[in-house]
Symmetry: D2
Subunit: 257 residues, 4 copies
C-alpha cells in the first residue's frame, strides 16, 4: 500500500519516469499531465492512475533503475549495467562493509546500500563538499542514511578503515590509491575500479599487479537496447557506445608494500 513519505516511481512511459516522495498537497507534473499525490495514498503499488490530461500512468515501487532515471545528479553517474557487474563481481553480500570513492552524486552509494541491506555499511569518500551534500540528500531521500557514512577526505592520503570487504573506486587516478586500498581491504577482498579511458586501464592494472593484488581483470560492457515490435525486432539505432572499463582484483597476502 502506498503511504505518505514513500518514495514512488510515477511511470508514464519509458522516457517519463519520475521519482517522488508522497506528500499531502503535493503535485507531480510532466508534459503529459500532472498527478495530485493525495490521490494515491492508500492505493496499491502497480495501480493505474489518470493524469490531469487524461493520460494514464502507473505508480511503481522504485527499482535501482528507476532511481537511476529519476535521481537528481549534477555529475555523470555510473550506468546501471556497470554498477550491476561491479557489485556482482566483487563478491559482496548483505551485511558487508565497503568503501567507495568518490561519492559523486551518490548513485553507486545508493546501489551499494540497497544491496548490503540493513546490516551493511557503505563508507563513502569525496573531496568535494558540494557534491557530497547532494549525495547526502539523495541517500536520505531514499531512506538509506543509516547505511552510509560520508567522509570528506582525499583518499590519495589513505583510508581510515581496515578489514573492509570491498573497495569501489570511481576517480580519475585510482593508481594513486591502490596501495592504500590494499591496507584497508581484508585479505581476499575485492577492489573494483571504474575508468573511462584505456590509458587508465594500463596504469591501474600495473598498480594492482605491483601492490599485492591478484586475479586482475579489465572488462567492458556494451549494452544494446532492442525495439520490441512485431515483425520488426532490432536494436535501437542510437545509443551509448561507451561508458568505461571495469578493473577488478583481489588482495593477496603477498604485498610488497
Amino acid at each position: 500500500m502506498i503511504k505518505e513519505e514513500d518514495v514512488i516511481t510515477l511511470w508514464i512511459d519509458t522516457k517519463r519516469t519520475y521519482l517522488v516522495k508522497v506528500r499531502k498537497g503535493k503535485k507531480v507534473g510532466s508534459d503529459k499531465g500532472a498527478l495530485n499525490l493525495d490521490s494515491i495514498i492508500g492505493l496499491e503499488y502497480g495501480v493505474e492512475v489518470t493524469l490531469s490530461t487524461g493520460n494514464k500512468a502507473y505508480i511503481l515501487k522504485p527499482t535501482l533503475i528507476d532511481i537511476y532515471n529519476g535521481l537528481r545528479r549534477p555529475s555523470q553517474v555510473l550506468y546501471p549495467k556497470d554498477i550491476a557487474y561491479m557489485i556482482y563481481s566483487s563478491g559482496i553480500k548483505p551485511g558487508d562493509t565497503v568503501i567507495e570513492a568518490g561519492t559523486g552524486s551518490g548513485f553507486l552509494t545508493i546501489s551499494l546500500a540497497h544491496y548490503l541491506g540493513d546490516n551493511g555499511k557503505v563508507i563513502t569518500y569525496d573531496i568535494r563538499q558540494d557534491m557530497q551534500e547532494i549525495a547526502k540528500k539523495n541517500v536520505e531521500f531514499l531512506g538509506f542514511s543509516n547505511r552510509v557514512i560520508f567522509k570528506l577526505k582525499d583518499v590519495r592520503e589513505g583510508f581510515d578503515e581496515t578489514n573492509v570487504d570491498a573497495i569501489f573506486l570511481d576517480m580519475p587516478d585510482p593508481w594513486n590509491v591502490v596501495k592504500f586500498a590494499y591496507h584497508a581491504l581484508k585479505p581476499s577482498g575485492s577492489i573494483v575500479i571504474f575508468v573511462p579511458t584505456v590509458n587508465q586501464i594500463e596504469k591501474t592494472g600495473i598498480a594492482l599487479k605491483n601492490n599485492g593484488f591478484i586475479d586482475i581483470h579489465a572488462e567492458e560492457l556494451i549494452l544494446r537496447e532492442y525495439q520490441i515490435k512485431e515483425n520488426a525486432v532490432r536494436p535501437k539505432n542510437i545509443g551509448v557506445m561507451h561508458t568505461g572499463y571495469i578493473i577488478r582484483g583481489r588482495k593477496s597476502l603477498k604485498s610488497s608494500v
Copy 2:
C-alpha cells in the same frame, strides 16, 4: 581464517580456478601441481601457497565469479554479466522472496540466494529431476540450502506462490508462463527473462504487453575482456560474442487476464 568445511577458491591463474571444500586428508590437483588441504587449515584467506610442483597459488574466499568458474554444471548456465544485470534491474533486495524457473545447474539460484541473504528465499522450479539433483548438491555445497526451495513441477501449469517480489525465467518458451507469473507476482514486482534468440524476444515481449506488464525492455550485454599489458592494451581476440537477451517488465494492476 580458513576452517574445515569452508568452500574455498584455489586460484592458480586466470584459467585455473578451483572451488573446493576443505577437508582433512583431501588433495586438490591440477596440471600445475597439487595442494594438500590439511596444510591450509588455520591460515588466513588471501594466503600464498606452494603446490607440489613448486608453483605458487592463492586461497581466496569464493565470489560468485569463482563459483561460476568452478561449479559442476552439466548444462550451460547463465553468464555472470547477464545474471548481474538481471538481479540489479529486478529491484530485489535482501530478505525478498523470488521465483526462478528452470533451476538448471543452479547457478542463478545460488546467485539469487547470495543476494537475498539469510532472510531471503528462492523458490526454484524445474521439470527435470536429474538436473535438480545436481542443482541441490551445488546449493548445498555452497551452504545455501536454507534459502532455497526446490520444486519439481512444470511452470507452464502455474506457480504455487503469490505475492513474490520477482520472477526470473530461463526457459525455452517463457511466453507460455507470463500469465502465471502475473498472478504469482506482487503488484509492481519485476519479471526478468533470459532468452538466446531474437524470435523469443518478440514472442515474450508481446506476451508481456498482453498480460498486464509495463515498463518492458529487451536488452543485450556484450562483455569484452581486455589484455592489460604495458604498452599493448587491447581486447582479447576471441571471446563470447553472444549469450542472449534480457527481457524485463513490471506487473501493473491493469491485467486483462
Copy 3:
C-alpha cells in the same frame, strides 16, 4: 590541380565537411566562415585556405566518406561501413555490371560506380520517381552518369537483365525479389542484401536457401569511433548502435525454381 567544375571537399573540421562544385563567382559558407571558390582554382589539392572569418580549412579530393558526409539525401542512406563490406564481400571488380534496388538517394549507386570504374555499369531500380530524380542529380554531380542506368520499375516484378555479376538489394521485402535475382545473376554471382530488422534476416535467409543460393551468411558490423587524445584514448560515448544486417549468398546452378 583544382579546376573549374571539379567537385571538391571543403574540410573545416570533422563536423564541417562540404562537397561543392568549383564555379567562378560561387561561394561556400558555413558557421565557421565562407570561401570564395574563385580563389582556389589553380591551387593544389590538400591546400590550406583561409575562410572569411580567418578560420583555416582545407581543399581535398572527395573520398566516398566525404561524399557520404556531404551528399544531398532526403532519405537515410546505407552507412560507409556497411557498403564497404557489401562491396568487398560481393567479389565485384572493375568493369563488372551490377544491379541495385532501390536507388534511394543514390549513395550506394555512387559507391558502386566508383568501384566499378569507367568500364563498369550499375543498373539501379526504384519505384519512386522523385527519389530517383535526386539520385540522378547526385550521380551527375559526381560525374558518374556514364556508369549508371536508372530504371523506374518495381523489381518485385523482375529484372530486365541477365548474367549480371552481382545484385545489391536495400528494400523492405527482399524475399519477394530473391527468385528474380536468381535469374538475373550469372552463376556463382553474389547477392548482397541489407535489412534493418532481425525478422528480415530470417525471411530473406530462408528465401535464399529455397531459391538456389548457397554460401549464405548474415552479418552485422558495429563501428566504434575513438577519441585520439594523449593519455585519454577511449571510444566516443554516443554513437550509432545499429544500422542493419548484411545477408549474402551466391547463385548455384541447383535452382529449384
Copy 4:
C-alpha cells in the same frame, strides 16, 4: 566456363572452402570427400559436383572472402571486414597506385590489386624475404603479378615513390613511418593504418597530427555473424571479439616537416 589454370573455389560448406588451381590429373581432397579436377573443366561456374564420398559441393569463382579463407598464410592476415573499410575509406579507385607495408602473406596486397584493376599498381614493402616469397606466390597464384611490385626494404628508412594515391600500413610501429608516408603521398591522399593495440592508436594519431595530416580518425569494427535458423535467429556464440583499429588521415600541404 571453368578452364584449366583457373583458380576456383571448391565450396563444400561454410567451414570447408578450398582455393585451387584447375589442373588435369589433380585432385583436391577434404574430410568430406575428394574431387577430381579433370571432371570440372568445361563446366559452368556455380555447378554442383559430387565428391568421392557422394557428398555434394559447388564450384565457385573466388571472391576475396574465398581467398581469405583459402589462402596459404603463415602469418595472421588482416580480416576482410577491416580491409573492406580500409580500402573504402581511403578513396582509391581503379587505376590508382598505392603503397603497402608490410607485405605479410599478401592478402591485403591481393585485395588492393583486385580493386585497383588492370591499370592499378600496388607497391608492397617488407623486410622479411621469406614472407615476401610466400606473398609473391600467393599473388602469382591469383594472377595479379602484373599489378604488384615487391620491394624488400625497411620503410622506416623511407619509400622510393612520390605522388602515390594512398598508403596502407600494417606494421608494429607506424608512427616511425608517418613522415616518410607524407613525402610519398600526393596531396589530399589517404594514409590508412591498422594496429592491434590502443597504445598504438595514441602514438600513431599523434604522429599524424604532427606531420601534416588532417581528417584523422580511429575506428574499430566489430563483426557479428548470425545463425539463420527458422524461429531461432541469433548471433553465433563464439567469435572474434577484436582484430584491431583502423587509423586514417589525409595529407594536407601544411606539413611542418
